[in-house]
Symmetry: C2
Subunit: 224 residues, 2 copies
C-alpha cells in the first residue's frame, strides 16, 4: 500500500466520486493513477469496476490489495491510514473530532436524501406527466430549509478554521445546487463559502471536467 | 467527558438508537444515564431533545459538552475517543480497518434505503389504496437481493473473527426483518449469524423493550 499502489476509477459529476477525489487531493494523493469512466456508456458496469466493486458503482478505489468503494469510507480510510500526510480530515482533539464526524455524516445523510434523491433524481427519473408537483414543491422546500441550516453554520470552512471532512462532503452538494440553477446569493454565508472554497487547489483540481464545458440547459433546481 | 458525563436519549425500535446502544454496550458504557422517549407521544420533538438536537431526532447523545447525534458518528466518536475501553469497533490493522469502514457504510447505505425506506416506511406511510404494488414488489426483491449479499459474507461475525462496527450496523437491520415477518431460514448463514449474535450480551442488553412484549400483528416483510 502507498501512493504508488493507489488507483481510483471515477466518473464526472458524481458527488461521491468528487468527495473521494477531494480527500485524495487534500491528503497529497491527487496524482495517483485514475481511470475515467463514462456513465452514459455504462462504464460503471464495466469489467474493471465489477471486479473490484460488484455493486457496479464508482468511486472504486484500491490501495494495493485494499479495496474501499464507499466514498465516506474512502475518506475515513485515507485519513486513518495516512495520518501524517497532507490535510488532517478528522481532527485529533476529541471535541473537534466529534463535531467533524457528526457534521460530515449529518451533511451526507440530509443533503443526499433532500437534494440528490428527492429533488434531482426525482426529476431525472420521473416522467414529467407522472410527477406529483405538490410532492416536488414540498421536496424543494425541505431542500431549501436544509441549505439554510448550513448557511447558519459555515464560515471560511464548514467547521472550525481548517479544511475537514465536513468540507469534502458539503462542498460538492453546494456546487451541485449552483450547477443546477439554484441562486444561493440569498444564503450569503453559503455563497461566500462556495466562492472561497471553489478557489482551493483540491477543489479546482477535482472539478467535474464536463461542468467546465458549459452550463446546464435544464436548471432543475432554479426554484429551490 | 467520560462515562459519568455521558447521556443518551433514545426510543424503542429505532435502528439508529439500537446501533448507538450496541456501541455503548460494547465500549463498556451500557450503564450510562439514559432517557427513554416515546415516538407515539412525539418525545423526539420534546424540549430536552431539541435543545441538544434541533433536528428533533434520536439518538441524542452527549459526553459532557460534546454532543453527537448521528448514530454512525456516535460509534466512530466512541471508538476514537475511548480507544482502550471495551471492544475495538474499528480495527487498527490498515486492511481490516479499511474493510470495516467499507462494510459498515455499505451496510448502512444499502440496508437503510432498500429495507427501511423502500419497504418498511413505504408501507407505513403510503395508504393501501395509493400503493403501487409493482413498485413494492420490485423493492421487496431488491431488499431480498441485498440480504443475499450479506448472507454470502457473514460468519460468526459480519467481518473477520471479532465483533466490529459492521455488526453494530448490520445486526439491527437483520433483527428488524425478522421482527417484520421475513423468514431468513432460506439465508442459512444470515440465520446462523442472527441466532449467534442475538445471544451476545450487548445485543440482549439493548434489545428494543417493546419487542419483548409480543409479536407484530402486521408482518409487512413476510414476502421478502
Amino acid at each position: 500500500m502507498g501512493k504508488g499502489d493507489m488507483k481510483l476509477i471515477w466518473g464526472s459529476g458524481s458527488g461521491p466520486c468528487w468527495r473521494a477525489m477531494i480527500a485524495l487531493e487534500e491528503k497529497g494523493f491527487g496524482d495517483i493513477e485514475k481511470k475515467f469512466i463514462s456513465f452514459s456508456e455504462k462504464g460503471h458496469k464495466g469489467e474493471d469496476v465489477m471486479k473490484k466493486n460488484p455493486r457496479g458503482q464508482v468511486p472504486t478505489f484500491s490501495d494495493g490489495d485494499i479495496i474501499v468503494n464507499e466514498s465516506m469510507a474512502i475518506c475515513l480510510y485515507l485519513d486513518a491510514a495516512y495520518p501524517n500526510e497532507g490535510t488532517k480530515l478528522i481532527p485529533t482533539d476529541a471535541k473537534d473530532m466529534a463535531q467533524v464526524y457528526q457534521q460530515a455524516i449529518e451533511a451526507h445523510e440530509n443533503l443526499q436524501m433532500k437534494i440528490a434523491i428527492k429533488c434531482i433524481y426525482y426529476q431525472w427519473r420521473t416522467k414529467k406527466e407522472e410527477r406529483n408537483e405538490e410532492t416536488l414543491n414540498e421536496n424543494l422546500k425541505a431542500a431549501r430549509e436544509e441549505l439554510e441550516i448550513w448557511d447558519k453554520r459555515v464560515k471560511q470552512f464548514a467547521y472550525g478554521d481548517k479544511f475537514t471532512l465536513v468540507d469534502a462532503v458539503l462542498f460538492p452538494f453546494v456546487a451541485t445546487v449552483v450547477r443546477f440553477g439554484c441562486d444561493i446569493s440569498s444564503l450569503p454565508r453559503l455563497q461566500a463559502y462556495y466562492d472561497n472554497l471553489k478557489e482551493r487547489q483540491s477543489i479546482k483540481n477535482s472539478w467535474p471536467p464536463h461542468w467546465l464545458e458549459g452550463e446546464l440547459k435544464d436548471k432543475i433546481l432554479k426554484d429551490l
